[in-house]
Amino acid sequence: MAEIWCVASGKGGVGKTFAATGLGISLAKLRKKVLLVDFDISGANLHTVLGLRDFKNSILDGLNSSATGKDMIMSSGFSNLDFIPGFIVPQLGQELCTFKVDALLQQLQTLKYDVIIFDLGPGAQKANFSLMNYADRNFVITNCEPTSIEKTYSFIEQYIATEGRTKTLHILVNFCRSQQHQTLGKSFESVLFKKHDVNIRFSAGIRFDNAVWQSTFMTSSNMQNVFALMPYSEVCHDFYKICKQLIDPSELRAVS
């Protein structure tokens, strides 16, 4: 059985998709077989972050049962890492998402992946919450800004109110520019525990890195992910560290 990780956030634009690919690529480099699935129904762009453009099928075909899991899966360009593209055209009927997820997941589980990562859309929506219920780990991505912090709290509050406290929640603080930002995750843990009695299990900071900006500063013909362009940058290091801690905190692993 593959472990399912969900990447969600209360606010858009905090780096959800970037974090999903970051986790996926890091796990793949740690010799796990990983599948990235773009579940962002408000506008998919996982393929852009990975630097891919042309694809035939999308997750929509899988949900409509017009294509099998195997047909949708594409190689991402990284070894051990595959991905399923999302809707290219934003779909209005958001209940679609819960439509045939069960059937689709059953298919994907037969494909011998170690980890399947869902990249969700932003905000506290029913579609996102129901997908989070399939997951073994849920990552909530946030920024260090008050707008993002407020939305993160309301996101987690609503999630608990509708789905309960049973699921594992993790917090990743993106765009950390200072030591204070790095410890923000720990503060979230304490605040959520005191206020809502929520156990956050794990939190980490991801440093702000110009390497990410540099990697987007390329012409569309040779677009590359930061992990391909600058694999030894600070931001990549942070993702490797998070994955190592989550897979097996006691074991020191080399990144291949």
């Binding site: 008050p146 407020e150 204070q180 720990k186 979230f188 009695d197």
Partner: protein
């Protein structure tokens, strides 16, 4: 968990009951940082008043858990469960601790109290008194003679003058090799003479003359 209800101090600092002193200190530092007014993570969850109430609670928790005596009392009360919330507050624990201390101190002998201005009594000897009056050449031997006459032990003199007894006896034997620089020795002599009720200026001047003579002698040897 809400801010107004009184919680277990361990829960406030988010440590286990078995936490070591070091762990408690680390947790306290972390909690203090987390609930400082500057922390962005509090935004929209805790108001400033709530945060400051939490900070007070954290301080209270740390003052109980960081003190081993308080912590023992607190833990005993926590485990027995027969105590009310007010018995588990910092003030109650503090009070219990002082009570416990007083109780224990009754069992041991009362400490000997030494009053500050106490002077040992001695029998007046008019011959010696006049000799002291007339003395213009002070040296270690004579200082010792006066000290013994006035019933001061070296320890008592040390208590009064705050000068190391080793130095005091070296003063009496006039041993420059066991004493610091002359300027300090002069200070010691002044304290010595003052305590014995002598004219410290005269004594110091005369003693230092003898002392410096001895110092020169030793250098030429």
């Amino acid at each position: 968990m809400s801010t107004d209800s009184k919680n277990n101090y361990y829960e406030i600092l988010e440590v286990a009951n078995t936490a070591t002193q070091h762990e408690i200190t680390v947790a306290y530092e972390k909690a203090k940082r987390t609930y400082s007014a500057q922390n962005a993570a509090l935004y929209s969850v805790f108001t400033e008043a709530e945060a400051s109430a939490l900070r007070d609670l954290i301080e209270e928790a740390y003052s109980v858990l960081s003190n081993q005596n308080y912590r023992n009392i607190y833990e005993k009360r926590l485990l027995s469960k027969s105590y009310s919330a007010s018995d588990l507050s910092l003030d109650a624990v503090k009070k219990a601790s002082t009570e416990l201390f007083n109780e224990n101190s009754l069992l041991t002998a009362a400490p000997v109290e030494v009053t500050e201005n106490e002077k040992p009594s001695y029998e007046k000897n008019s011959d010696l008194e006049t000799e002291i009056e007339a003395c213009s050449n002070w040296d270690g031997d004579f200082l010792k003679k006066v000290r013994e006459y006035k019933q001061y032990s070296l320890e008592l003199l040390h208590e009064k003058t705050k000068v190391n007894p080793w130095y005091l006896s070296a003063l009496e034997r006039m041993e420059p090799q066991n004493l610091p620089a002359p300027v300090f020795v002069r200070g010691y002599v002044i304290q010595f003479a003052k305590t014995l009720g002598l004219n410290e200026k005269q004594v110091a001047e005369s003693y230092m003359k003898n002392y410096k003579f001895k110092l020169e002698q030793q250098k030429t040897k």
